[in-house]
Every structure is written in C-alpha cells, then in structure tokens.
C-alpha cells in the first residue's frame, strides 16, 4: 500500500489555482525530492498532504486515510519551512527535540531518551543540546527542527526546505539520517532547492510548477540535460525555463 497518494488535487487560496491536477505517490522506502521555483506551490502541496489544507478537487490519502482524520499521527513527521520562533523563548534544543516524541509516546509517558539522543546525534547537535534555541544560528535552529521530526521516528517524513542555510558537514549527517530512515522502510518527501547533498540517495525527483512537470529518477532528469549535483546552476536554470 502506498504511504502517500495524491490524485488529481487542485487547490486555490483565492480563485487562481496554486496547485492543479497534481498526482503523486510515495511507497515505503522511497526517498523523493520535490523541486520547483519559488511560488510554484510546493509548500501548498505539503500542507495539503499533511491535512492542514483541504483540496478543492481530488483526493489525498495518507496511509490509506484522509490526512485530516489520520488516527496515528505519530506515523507522520514534519519539518516546517522557516518556523517562527518566539523571540523570548527560553527553551533548550533538547526541550524542542523532546517535544517531537509527544505524538508517539503521548504526554503522560516519559520521552524516550534514546530516540532523542539519536535524533540529536543525527543532526550533529549533541554538544549543543543544553543551549537555548533562540541563541543558536539560523542553520542550527533549522537542524533542531529536523531533529524534532526525527525524534518521532516517523514512517513518512515531510521536510519543507530543511537544508537552506545548513552547512556541508550538517548536510552530510542529514543525508545519512534520511537514508537510515528510508532503509528502515520509511518514506521521505523532501522539498529543497539544493539537492546536491542528497542527489545520490534519491529514488525520484518530482518537479512542480503548479502541476507536476516531471516525475522520475534523477537519471532521467540527467538525460534531459539536468544534473542535480555537479552543476549547481543546472536545476535552477532548467526550472526557470519551464513554462
């Protein structure tokens, strides 16, 4: 059974559709990148997938269920695009990452320390675990939110531009933790403009510009003259060219 299936989904905030007739499917153990220029509807599609928005046409199924009334939310992990952090928030990295366990363990049980440790290790924040999040750099904060999602040990992980501003070493760790997740049978949907770090690990690339313009393995994209890793300019230029 597909972990995620999107069929003929159309959504408009006002009148003009932002996402139109989109089909997308993720099976267990698949690592898929969703790319597209700014404003092409990626975050909107993500919100539709997560059940935060409802499609005007078409159907979204998460684990075979309507995402809005999915009963086991712990199966779903999410890293939002640029989460707004309250300025005066006094909380450590560990506090935030531990919250990632709430869905899986429930609020009445203690968090699973080991899962939290693994998540911190995976993003390379073990040493900063007792630091205040508000005092960290943008990239370190972003990694905190990635760790929060990893701590829930999800079966579907959806990440909206998680590696913008994350340095090369952290990206390497990040790729490893995603690959690890995928090897255990989870599916990953990664929205990103920079696929260099993960290019080798990807099963498919989906190009979105209101509708799906390409859906296939990176090698097919390469056949179309677009490389993901080597020429950093290739993908953005090609995306620009899509009408």
């Amino acid at each position: 059974m597909a972990i995620l299936s999107v069929e003929g989904v159309t959504f408009a905030y006002q009148t003009e559709p932002v996402v139109e007739a989109v089909d997308l499917r993720l099976d267990p153990g698949e690592f898929v990148a969703l790319v597209g220029p700014n404003g092409s509807g990626k975050s909107t599609l993500v919100r539709l997938v997560l059940g935060l928005l409802r499609p005007q046409r078409g159907v979204v199924r998460l684990f075979g269920q309507d995402p809005a009334d999915l009963d086991d939310r712990a199966r779903l992990g999410y890293v939002p695009q640029r989460p707004a952090l309250a300025a005066g928030l006094t909380a450590t990295v560990e506090d935030i990452v531990t919250a990632g366990q709430l869905a899986r363990r429930g609020w009445w049980r203690r968090a699973d320390r080991e899962a939290v440790d693994r998540a911190l290790e995976a993003v390379g924040l073990s040493d900063l675990r007792r630091e205040r999040v508000a005092s960290l750099s943008g990239g370190q904060q972003q990694r905190t939110f990635i760790a929060r999602a990893l701590a829930g040990e999800p079966e579907l992980l959806v990440l909206d531009e998680p590696i913008a501003g994350v340095d090369a070493e952290a990206q390497r760790r990040f790729r490893e933790s995603l690959v690890h997740l995928v090897e255990r049978g989870a599916a990953v949907l990664l929205v990103s403009h920079e696929l260099g770090a993960v290019a080798e690990a990807l099963d498919r690339v989906v190009v979105l510009k209101r509708s799906v313009r390409f859906d296939g393995p990176p090698s097919e994209l390469a056949a179309a003259g677009v490389s993901l890793g080597v020429h950093a300019e290739d993908l953005p230029l090609w995306l620009e060219g899509i009408r």
Binding site: Y78, P80, A87, G88, L89, R130, S135
Partner: protein
C-alpha cells in the same frame, strides 16, 4: 486559631495572606510563562479588565464576586482566543475592544450597584490582608487547578506555544489546548485578583517570567525560576508591607519589578565584563588571569558571554 509562627506571620490574617500570596505567586507566573512565550503578554491585562466587569456584576446581583468574575473572565478569555486563532488579535484593535468594554462595563455596572467604594477597591488594588478563610479556599482551588494543569499538561502547552502548525500535524488537540491556556489564564487572574488587584495582575504574570528568561535556559528552568521569584516577591512584599505599613498588592509587584531590574542588570554587567576582557586581551596580547567571579559566570552560562541574546531585555508586552 492562628498557627504558632514567628513575626510577621504570628497573626491569623497574616497567615491567610501568606498562603494566598504563595499560591498566587506560584500560579500566576506559571501560566504567565506560556502567555509570554506566545507573545500575548497583554492577555493578562485584557482578562483583568474583563474580571472587573465580572466583579461589578457580582456586586450588582449580590453573588460572590469571585464566581461572577471567573465566569466573565473565562468567557472573555475564550473570546479573545477565538480572535487570536483567526489571526485578528495581533491587529490590536479587536483586543483593545475587550479592554475598553471590560473597564467601561465594570464602571457602569458597579455605579448601578452603588458599589463604587472601598469594596470595589479591594478588587481593583488587591487587599490581601483582609482575605477571609472562604476566599483563601477559592484562591487555593483556582491556583491549585492552574498548578496541576501546568504540571500535567505543560509539555503539551509548550509544544503548541512553540509551533502551532507543527503541533497540529503531530495530532495534538491544538484548539482544545489553546482553549485550556485561555481558561487557565482567566483562572489565574481571578485567583490573583484579591492579592495584587485587577490592575496589577498582569505584572505578576509577566515580571517574574521576564526575570526567569534571563536566568534560565530551559523550559523547565524558566517555570521554576518564574514561580520561585513569584513566591519570593509575594513573601517579601508581604513582610515589607507589614513592616512599613504599605499597600501589599503594590509592594509585591514592586518587589518583582526590583528583582527584574537587578537580574537584567546582572546580565548586562556580565556582558560588559566580557567585552572589557576581550578589549584587555586584544591590548595586552595574552589573556590575563581570569577574574574569579567572571570566570564562574562564564562557566555557568557561556551562552550569555559569547552570544548575547538580543531579546533578553525585552519586556514582553
């Protein structure tokens, strides 16, 4: 029968006041921590104004003002939460309407009840020294509810306050939790009403939290520091009020204010110390022997020294 306690708590009214002060000193900053983190520090004020209407209604209908205040405050808090959820409370006008309505309604209704007198002042400015056993029981129940709720559900409230959209995806009952936070805020306001007064409730919810945000790093640390400072301010304020015959509500808040000023000063000194050291180091080359006091603070909290938090001094409104 008063308990055999030493001065200044040897008399029964002081013992009742002490208990009420400690309970409110605990509960107001506890819930205040979440309110401040959500950047809704005005909420305490807004709900306080609504509680004023509630008190006036109680005086008019001759029911115990604590209950009528609780009713109006809870209803109002849920109303404000609705506006916030629709993204309209930050466009302050909607929130301001609640404030003006609360005060104006309170004045008109208490005028109608012929109660614009000392009885009303006890609620406006607090009157902890005249707290009765019955009122203490109400304060205990209300504060106890707040403390218990934070102890049990604090992790959930924290997750929602940090990132509402994420919490929704994680399947947390975000709407319910926001409602709970609003109701708990109203409850804490009503509990604090007789202690520091409607006009100063928000101060007790915000000032200890502002100090705690300088002193603590973790969520848990913030809750401990905030409630510790809240209780400390209440006790010290009471003693000072007895000793020098001051208005206790205002004194308690002034103590909390002094604590905040001292704490933020310490924080600033700590940073200045580091700047001075850095300058000296640059001038002289090798760093001289570390100042023991400063070295202690550096080890205790090197975040402040290396990366000053630009928001540490913000008084959250």
């Amino acid at each position: 029968m008063p308990l055999p306690l030493p001065w200044p708590f040897e008399r029964e009214f002081m013992q009742l006041a002490l208990l009420a002060g400690v309970l409110v000193g605990l509960s107001a900053p506890l819930i205040g921590t979440f309110v401040v983190q959500r950047r809704m520090s005005l909420l305490g004020d807004g709900i306080g104004h609504l509680a004023f209407t509630g008190v006036a209604v109680g005086l008019l209908l001759e029911v115990w003002p604590v209950w009528s205040a609780l009713l109006v405050a809870v209803a109002g808090a849920l109303g404000i939460e609705r506006l916030r959820a629709q993204g309209r409370a930050s466009g302050d006008l909607a929130l301001a309407l609640f404030f003006y309505g609360g005060i104006a309604g309170g004045v008109v209704i208490s005028g109608k009840a012929g109660a614009l007198d000392a009885n009303l002042f006890a609620y406006l400015f607090g009157s902890i020294l005249t707290v009765t056993r019955g009122e203490l029981l109400a304060v205990a129940v209300l504060s106890g509810a707040v403390i218990a709720a934070v102890a049990i559900g604090g992790r959930l409230l924290f997750a929602v306050v940090v990132d509402e959209e994420w919490a929704r995806v994680a399947g947390l009952p975000v709407g319910v939790l926001n409602g709970v936070l609003a109701v708990l805020t109203a409850t804490a306001v009503v509990a604090a009403m007789r202690v520091v007064g409607i006009l100063l409730i928000a101060a007790l919810m915000v000032l200890p939290v502002a100090s705690a945000q300088v002193l603590a790093r973790s969520q848990r640390g913030t809750l401990w520091w905030a409630s510790g400072i809240g209780v400390g301010s209440a006790v010290v304020g009471l003693v000072a009020a007895r000793q020098w015959d001051l208005a206790p509500g205002g004194t308690i808040v002034l103590v909390a204010l002094v604590v905040f000023l001292v704490v933020s000063q310490l924080d600033a000194r700590r940073r200045l110390g580091v700047v001075a050291r850095a300058v000296r180091a640059v001038r002289r080359g090798p760093v001289d022997a570390p100042d023991p006091v400063l070295a202690g603070t550096i080890h205790a909290d090197h975040r402040h020294t290396h990366e000053p938090d630009p928001h540490a001094h913000e008084v959250h409104r």
